[in-house]
Symmetry: C2
Subunit: 423 residues, 2 copies
Amino acid sequence: MEDLKDYARQLGLEARRAARRLAVMQDSVKSEALRQIATSLRAEAEALLEANQRDVATAEAANLAAPLVERLRLTPRRIESMAEGVAQIASQIDPVGQTIQAYNRPNGLRVEKRRCPIGVVLFFYESRPNVTADAAALCIKSGNAVILRGGKEAMHSNTAIATIISRSIAAAGLPAASVQLVQTTDRALVPILLKQRDLIDLVIPRGGKSLIEAVVAESTIPVLKHFDGNCHLYVDQHIDGIEQQVIDVCVNAKTSYPGGAVCNAVEHILFHERAASRLLAKVCDALAARGVQIRADELARTLYPAAVPATSEDWTTEYLALIVGVKVVRSLEEAIQHINTFGSHHTDGILSTDRAACERFANEVDSSSVMINASTRFADGGEYGLGAELGISTDKLHARGPMGAADLTTYKWIVSGQGHVRG
Amino acid sequence: MEDLKDYARQLGLEARRAARRLAVMQDSVKSEALRQIATSLRAEAEALLEANQRDVATAEAANLAAPLVERLRLTPRRIESMAEGVAQIASQIDPVGQTIQAYNRPNGLRVEKRRCPIGVVLFFYESRPNVTADAAALCIKSGNAVILRGGKEAMHSNTAIATIISRSIAAAGLPAASVQLVQTTDRALVPILLKQRDLIDLVIPRGGKSLIEAVVAESTIPVLKHFDGNCHLYVDQHIDGIEQQVIDVCVNAKTSYPGGAVCNAVEHILFHERAASRLLAKVCDALAARGVQIRADELARTLYPAAVPATSEDWTTEYLALIVGVKVVRSLEEAIQHINTFGSHHTDGILSTDRAACERFANEVDSSSVMINASTRFADGGEYGLGAELGISTDKLHARGPMGAADLTTYKWIVSGQGHVRG
């Protein structure tokens, strides 16, 4: 226990020291480190695949569920896309030093809001090893030191990636402790880290609900939460000419990620009663043809009798599986009300040709991402042009939705005068 | 206890309902409510002064410290400035609906970040009654419902102001529960409120350190903290031609608020050794002439022997009184290091003619406000043009420094396609 306390303290102190230096690093240095990471990830893909194979073999031997093994797996394509993300972040404009706003006051004072790094980030994540590179790259770009704590199933993969990162940042001249991977899987370390408010500025847990709840309960440091995605699509009454699009978007939103096991997959589809009579059965047929189980309310079952009856529990459930809930509503208002009441405020979409309905839906649905005539699967940092994402915040404070490098900054007010005094 | 639980639940439920309606209110309606509040505050100044007199009399009878009685007191001028702040907020551009960023993606998707209200704010504050009007106005403008819990010493004043607010928002057609003043001084209500994460989105405690620490310890809702201001001024070696400005700014920063009892008053002045020999004694003389006690380190005392010797505890102390710590440093770096180590990251300033020194100080001092050749007393929402402030955040997440209406918003991503599906 004393050892763990010492280790936690050391992680925090080294991160704090590194953060002070990183905060004032030129972008050329930070970007060079990122380019080196991208190059090395590509050059050492073989070694990464080997390390990953050890994790995958252990997971399979332990009978880990198939979707979890899938998330854990690296492939040449996944390594390339990880390297590409890091390279993209390298070429972004440095968020640090950007002026958010600047203006002169009547008394001649000049007031500027200027972006600066937050400091030290503690990042928890689960099995996907590419997150190690994404998170390190976003933190370096934004001038923050990061302490990474990945899932123990991915320990060999994460260590291999972290080794490449360490070598690259040392070569570029960044402080070694800019990126630290926690070297123990002992869970007792977690509550100790979460109490170091003097050394850590922000905690981001990305993963299952129980991990996040545990972090929130223990932490005295501000936490940015990445909760579940109980996502909806609402099929409006105005769908003339977009019937096929509606079917395609519903199918894509549910099935484009293997097994539907991803937070931005659609979980429930609401049909306006006028759309239901025309399209509900066709959408359900298309989904069922892809192996999706349909759970429907009473009205929807009259139109698609093959559906399993939905219970009230269904509406709050994030299946993360090839299951979808289907319901008929009488109005746009009822759809908005349902989504705001039973949804998780992650990503919800409308399919409609009616401008006013789309605008009202966008304004009144209380979700981090609102999709208009597009698949919920686009809710993603890469798709939004952020290069990668640290996660998808379901919080309303600081950052909401997919988080990129700029979301890892705060700002300071810089006020310039000529000997101004206050009257 | 059951009564308190019911009351807490009722406050939260009514706020949530009001917030949903407020979020989509037109600005003309919100602004009309604010103009009515401003008009009524002016028209009913007599009644407000009377109610305030009851609070002041009780406080004086209870031998409350003079600066606290001073903060509690309303004057015709303070009422006018409260009304003026509300009117100014009314005329600001509505932050809700503002597009922060919008762009097209290569695949034709349009991505927009649009400001929207946070929802329900729970606001704790202490004795200054004008904060009731400031907070209500900022929350209404930004489309948030607010639950106000002021100090019990100001109960009569706050109730009188809240009555004016209720009447005005009803007349303008806003939901009555947009602004609710907590009607009990029972402290047992506080932890109950702080656990209602489903009904309250943000907690802002503004006041003493113990209040804030208690809120942070109890809350499962995100908290924006407003901690203490251990503010510094650094007098650089380059001060040719601005010697008198240096003296004036130091005196203003310490003494322009009665008794120095305000978070943006300077608490410690650091002199570069080359500036010290020329100016330290003059600055100390000017401060002493205004009744300020000087506490100095050893080097400073050789230049100003009348000073009280400072102890190591002094450097971390926010005096909130007519006391100032004075210290000689050997370099700009030492000043920055001292401020980042012993300060509270609130407001710190540099006095210098050297552009590079000012820029380096601004970049490296980790403070919410950095003053360049200006008094620390300018760190204030009104002075920054925000109309009023909800407080001065010492947090790095979400909002930092003085918080105005826009800081009470979050955003949503609105993504528009034409039947886009993800590949």
